[in-house]
């Protein structure tokens, strides 16, 4: 009788946990994800290397009152990931439930551990949610509009889901490779100020690689700084520095979902795997609050439409018809303090002195900003030739949608 009671109470406790996770998942999952939830996602095979599959089994077993099974699975989990604190907490609950009834997740940790237990509970929820609501194989993050040929991979982070997704550049089409649990800033995302303990939202890239030997144990198996603040951030007065992708201390498998000073933290084994795909100065790291997923068709049409605009801009520049050229620019245009009028007037003057202009755009990349500010960063190698001047440069433009049309809001050397 008392045994039965115990089983019942732990069920109640863990159902609470799972119910919270499910509700959150149901509320936030994009529509098309739900629609596709029944289909076996091809992607699933990749992430089965992490602890989530076993963790999900543990909670399934608890939910169906197979506590002995749950304990066996948790033992396996601990064996595979000895420093996985969440697994130890679940083990504590399962053991304690055998000696007394439990009313809440991790309550045996004692009153002093409340915050840590809450952290681990959050970790359980986001891990299970990430595992159960995987992106379908034929959907891609909206931000990866166009990768350059030499950008072999792209990283997209979803801070709400505490998840990092790795995509491979398959002849221009992003293909899902793997996803990993991550930790973001203690106070969440949308970094704006130095020391605000937030993770920036935006389009960045890996700028260097700091080997483990040069770092303290706190950063784990290595670190990859990203270029926060980027041009856009600076223009909007955001500051701070030292935002890295890095690992965990040697005695810690993973940190809670919100714990860093703004860095994106991965388990060491995940960082090690990921690091093989990171190209310094090349690999985009796009950090989003909540990833927007597009079907490949929608993604393709958005991409084609913007590419067409870039091509028209190129042709209009070659035509030396300044009015045609000017229609691609926003009235909010600003480049190094030069506004729309100044920019256009200068082009008009320059063009008047030329008998011909040839513009080449090679190696175009296009990444959409994931934040509230909707813009696309377009980068390419510009090969400019004219009757009196030629030069090659790497150019960066910021395109926005204005009145339904794509316009350039900023332009300059990359």
């Amino acid at each position: 009788m008392s045994r039965l009671l115990r089983s019942l109470t732990i069920i109640a406790a863990c159902s609470l946990l799972l119910a919270a996770g499910a509700a959150e998942a149901a509320g936030k999952a994009p529509r098309h994800l739900k629609k596709n939830a029944g289909e076996p996602a091809v992607a699933a095979i990749y992430t089965d290397s992490g602890p989530e599959p076993l963790l999900a089994k543990v909670f399934d077993a608890i939910e169906s009152n197979r506590l002995e099974v749950a304990m066996q699975q948790t033992e396996m989990l601990i064996k595979a990931y000895p420093n996985f604190r969440l697994a130890h907490l679940v083990m504590g609950d399962l053991l304690l439930a055998r000696s007394r009834p439990l009313m809440a997740f991790g309550e045996g940790g004692g009153p002093a551990a409340g915050e840590k237990v809450a952290d681990l509970r959050d970790e359980a929820i986001v891990r299970l949610k990430g595992y159960r609501t995987k992106p379908p194989a034929d959907y891609v993050p909206r931000y990866l509009l166009q990768m350059r040929a030499e950008q072999k991979y792209a990283v997209v982070v979803d801070t709400q889901k505490s998840r990092l997704y790795l995509y491979q550049n398959d002849h221009g089409t992003p293909r899902f490779v793997a996803d990993y649990y991550i930790t973001q800033g203690k106070l969440g995302a949308d970094k704006a100020r130095e020391g605000d303990r937030r993770t920036p939202i935006g389009v960045y890239h890996v700028t260097s690689s700091l080997p483990r030997q040069k770092l303290g144990d706190f950063y784990g198996s290595g670190a990859f700084p990203i270029n926060y603040p980027n041009d856009w951030d600076k223009r909007h007065g955001r500051n701070g520095h030292g935002i890295w992708l890095h690992g965990t201390p040697s005695d810690t498998f993973s940190r809670p979902p919100k714990a860093s000073d703004g860095c994106v933290v991965l388990a060491n084994q995940d960082l090690d795997t990921l690091s093989k795909s990171l190209q310094i100065g090349l690999t985009p790291v796009i950090i989003s609050n909540s990833i927007e997923w597009l079907s490949l068709d929608d993604w393709q049409s958005e991409r084609t439409s913007l590419l067409k605009n870039v091509e028209e801009w190129r042709q209009d520049w070659e035509s030396r018809n300044i009015d045609q050229y000017a229609r691609h620019y926003s009235h909010k245009f600003n480049s190094d303090g030069q506004g729309y009028q100044g920019w256009i007037e200068q082009k008009r003057k320059v063009n008047a002195a030329k008998s011909w202009v040839k513009v080449g755009t090679g190696n175009i990349s296009m990444f959409r900003n994931p934040g509230n500010e909707e813009y696309v960063v377009v980068t390419f190698e510009q090969d400019y030739r004219s009757s009196n001047l030629s030069n090659q440069m790497k150019k960066r433009q910021y395109w926005i949608k204005e009145g339904g049309n794509w316009k350039i809001v900023s332009e300059g050397a990359a």
């Binding site: 969440l86 907490l89 053991l95 304690l96 007394r100 991790g106 940790g109 002093a112 681990l120």
Partner: protein, 356 residues
């Protein structure tokens, strides 16, 4: 650090004496009683001396060895105590008390996994053994506390989880447990000391002393195990042969259920005939291996039956009953049919199926 809780001390005076009288000549009983008293009064060196002296004459005596283990534990000689209790578990695997006390010492040494295993053995032999359950609960609490420490990076060594484990002071403390395992299953074996603990149940203590005094050697089967088997008694006495067969079959069934319940795979498999027809037509060795795997899973198993119907046809019988099965992960009740046959004078299972 771990305080040993004295439990069953009241039994030391009453039940101990009765049972000891039953198991040995009065002189020995007195000696053991004296040793118990010395332990109670904390005169451990004297008690050790006495018990060694006692064991010199009766080196195999379970009661004496058990007391020696207690003394060594109290004298803080855990390794020697472990040796004594371990040997007892080997010689008397059906006694839960040595397992329990081994667990207590392991727990003192913070070897909680070993403690847990020992307690699980104690419970396996006696599923309703309250002290072992209680102690196991404490062990789980400590393992939980360790897990929480790892999870939360806190030191909870002074938290409330530090319950005390109960060391069993005598082999009699389980006297009150249901006589499940001491039923017909054991009557084939020589009488062992614990079984005598059942004596007070069937007769007043004073009455027990009498037959024992008449036959001081504890070799004769104790009266406890002799009572008519329940399955046999209410039967409306059919032909004698059939009655014998029924009794034999019931006995075989009891042995099978008991072996299963105490997870004794060897004894369990021995209930099946060599020509047992495996349910899915797999090879016998494959089936054996599968059963072994199932039964050896962690956690206690309890199997019982009711509504037994036997129909004998020569040296074959169809045995129907309702089977109750309970393990850590599964609880079922189902109708079962066994086709049994006599092989080398023993009733064995030829076929086993669920249904009616």
């Amino acid at each position: 650090m771990t305080k040993i809780r004295l439990t069953a001390s009241r039994l030391l005076t009453s039940a101990v004496s009765v049972a000891l009288l039953a198991l040995a000549p009065v002189v020995h009983a007195d000696a053991l009683q004296d040793i118990s008293k010395q332990i109670k009064q904390g005169q451990y060196p004297q008690a050790l001396e006495q018990v060694d002296k006692y064991l010199a004459g009766k080196p195999k005596d379970a009661q004496g060895r058990f007391l020696k283990g207690i003394v060594l534990t109290e004298m803080n000689k855990p390794n020697e105590a472990i040796a004594v209790f371990s040997k007892l578990t080997e010689d008397y695997p059906e006694l839960p008390e040595p397992y329990n006390n081994l667990a207590v010492i392991y727990a003192q040494q913070k070897q909680y996994d070993k403690a847990k295993q020992a307690l699980e053995m104690a419970i396996r032999t006696h599923p309703s053994y309250a002290t072992a359950h209680e102690n196991l609960g404490d062990i789980y609490a400590r393992l939980a506390s360790q897990a929480y420490d790892r999870a939360l990076q806190i030191d909870s060594s002074n938290s409330s989880a530090q319950n005390k484990l109960a060391l069993i002071r005598d082999l009699m403390s389980t006297a009150g447990r249901p006589g499940k395992i001491t039923k017909p299953i054991t009557d084939a074996r020589p009488v062992e000391p614990v079984k005598l603990a059942e004596a007070p149940k069937s007769a007043p203590a004073t009455a027990v002393a009498v037959p024992v005094a008449a036959a001081p050697v504890a070799a004769a089967p104790a009266p406890v195990v002799a009572p008519a088997k329940p399955a046999e008694a209410p039967r409306p006495a059919p032909a004698k042969a059939a009655g014998d067969a029924n009794a034999e079959i019931t006995n075989a069934l009891d042995l099978w259920v008991a072996a299963w319940s105490r997870k004794d795979v060897k004894a369990y498999l021995a209930a099946y005939a060599r020509d047992f027809k495996t349910p899915a037509g797999e090879s016998r060795s494959a089936w054996d291996a599968e059963r072994q795997k199932r039964i050896s899973k962690p956690g206690a198993i309890q199997v019982s039956y009711e509504n037994l119907r036997i129909s004998v046809d020569g040296d074959k019988a169809t045995v129907k009953f309702r089977q109750h099965y309970k393990s850590a992960s599964l609880k079922t009740s189902s109708n079962k049919v066994l086709l049994m046959g006599k092989r080398d004078g023993k009733w064995q299972i030829l076929q086993e199926r669920i249904g009616s």
